[in-house]
């Protein structure tokens, strides 16, 4: 087995530091607004928006809109597909560390 092989198993969407953290936060919290995630990760609006767009486009995260007295609030959560991918990604990281050790 070459040293490169385990890295190929890592999910390309989740193997990005900010998206990894977003996914972990959403997995633990369940559902969160854009502001919840922004505050927890200390990100700028633009940066977070780009990563959320990527996660939603790939089907890893789902967005739910709720109307509250004329204001629309968007709630994000991980989809089933995203949850499975996240757990597989964590397993892959663990295997990688065992492999390297």
């Amino acid at each position: 087995m070459s040293n490169q092989e385990p890295y190929a198993a890592l999910d390309r969407i989740l193997h990005q530091p900010i998206r990894t953290r977003i996914a972990a936060f959403l997995i633990a919290r369940g559902e969160a607004t854009f502001t919840d995630i922004k505050k927890a990760l200390s990100l700028t609006d633009g940066n977070l928006e780009a990563h959320m767009k990527k996660l939603v486009q790939t089907g890893y995260a789902v967005a739910r809109k709720e109307n509250d007295g004329g204001r629309t609030i968007t709630f994000y959560s991980m989809s089933d597909k995203g949850s499975v991918a996240f757990h597989q990604y964590v397993q892959a990281l663990n295997r990688l560390l065992q492999f390297e050790a």
């Binding site: 890295y7 193997h15 953290r21 972990a24 997995i27 633990a28 369940g30 919840d36 990281l93 560390l97």
Partner: protein, 350 residues
């Protein structure tokens, strides 16, 4: 990327995942207004509890008293929930799944405290306030498991107050302490948690000591002032006997101290009522004093001050001195139906 940096990056990724999982799990916080709403409402309710008990529970019905207290707390709970929700929505934030569950745990503990309180009010007991301190302390500790707010030491401090205070203070003192800890201490905790720098910041190591002192000091000071005001109710006259008092009309005006010596028979009028019992028949139970008692009369009426022997003057607390030790029911061929009960009548300590 070198082979050495790849495992390092994988390791960092796992570390950041663990950090964010913790952050997601510890995503709850108590808003500042919550401490003020519950603290001030709790303090006021505690201060009015005796008044409500005497005017609602004793004159009307215990159920109405319980419903009144529960409706006050329920209203505060509703207002707090609405305000918290509005604040979160205005900041585009959500109430997390854990926060909603945690709110239910708070309600369960407050419900348990109300149930204990009512039980103790009906069946007697001097530990009602301690139980409130301990249960609210537990709720704060449970909250701290899911929150980044440094709540744990304050929860422990509340439990310490609940455990130690009954050993140091009588019921009246505990009542003042509860007014102080809830009315001053809880809003103060809310204030400290939202300070980002300076002496009042809640995550400083000494913060809990400052809080502890400031939470209990007003209650203790109020209790001492209450004691002094009670001492002022004792007139500086020589104690007279009940016979002298009854015989001399001039002594029946103003303030007098009446001495009831050892062996005095005090008739206790006794009746019982319940869903199966009619209270129209009463008996007089003669009680014989085994210690002398002095009581204060003002213009022919007891003002509540008394002392046993030459001890300290105290103010009688009507609902805290009677204890029913046991009730025996028996039917036998010779005596027929018998009910035998033993009442414990205890003076308060101070």
């Amino acid at each position: 990327m070198s082979n050495q940096s790849k495992p390092a990056r994988a390791s960092r990724q796992l570390e950041s995942i663990h950090a964010m999982l913790s952050s997601g799990h510890q995503s709850i916080r108590i808003e500042k207004h919550t401490f003020f709403y519950w603290g001030i409402a709790g303090g006021l309710l505690t201060a009015l509890l005796e008044f409500l008990y005497r005017n609602v529970a004793m004159l009307m019905n215990t159920t109405i008293y319980v419903l009144l207290c529960a409706s006050i707390l329920g209203t505060i709970g509703y207002l707090d929930y609405r305000k918290t929700r509005n604040i979160r929505r205005s900041q585009d934030e959500s109430l997390s799944f854990i926060q909603v569950r945690m709110t239910r745990i708070w309600w369960l503990l407050i419900g348990a405290a109300i149930a204990f309180n009512v039980g103790l009010g009906i069946y007697g007991g001097n530990i009602a306030f301690s139980m409130w301190f301990i249960l609210i302390g537990l709720a704060i500790i449970i909250q701290s498991f899911f929150s980044t707010q440094p709540l744990m030491p304050f929860g422990i401090a509340l439990i310490v107050i609940g455990a130690i205070s009954p050993l140091c203070l009588p019921y009246t003192g505990l009542s003042w302490l509860a007014v102080s800890v809830f009315g001053v201490g809880i809003p103060l905790l809310g204030f400290m948690l939202y300070q980002t720098s300076g002496l009042w910041q809640a995550d400083k190591p000494y913060a809990v000591i400052i809080w502890f002192v400031l939470a209990i000091a007003p209650g203790y000071a109020a209790y001492q002032a209450d004691l002094l005001s009670r001492q002022a109710k004792v007139p500086t006259v020589t104690a007279i006997s009940l016979a002298e008092y009854q015989a001399n009309a001039a002594l029946q005006q103003g303030s007098q101290i009446i001495r009831l010596p050892i062996g005095t028979i005090v008739p206790l009028k006794l009746s019982a009522k319940g869903s199966l019992i009619d209270d129209s028949i009463s008996i007089e139970l003669p009680l014989k004093l085994n210690k002398s008692i002095e009581v204060v009369l003002e213009n022919g009426k007891l003002n509540g001050m008394y002392r046993v022997g030459q001890g300290e003057w105290s103010n009688i607390s009507r609902r805290k001195i009677l204890r029913i030790n046991d009730l025996f029911i028996d039917i036998n061929a010779k005596k027929g139906l018998n009910m035998d009960t033993q009442l414990g009548i205890l003076p308060t300590q101070k």
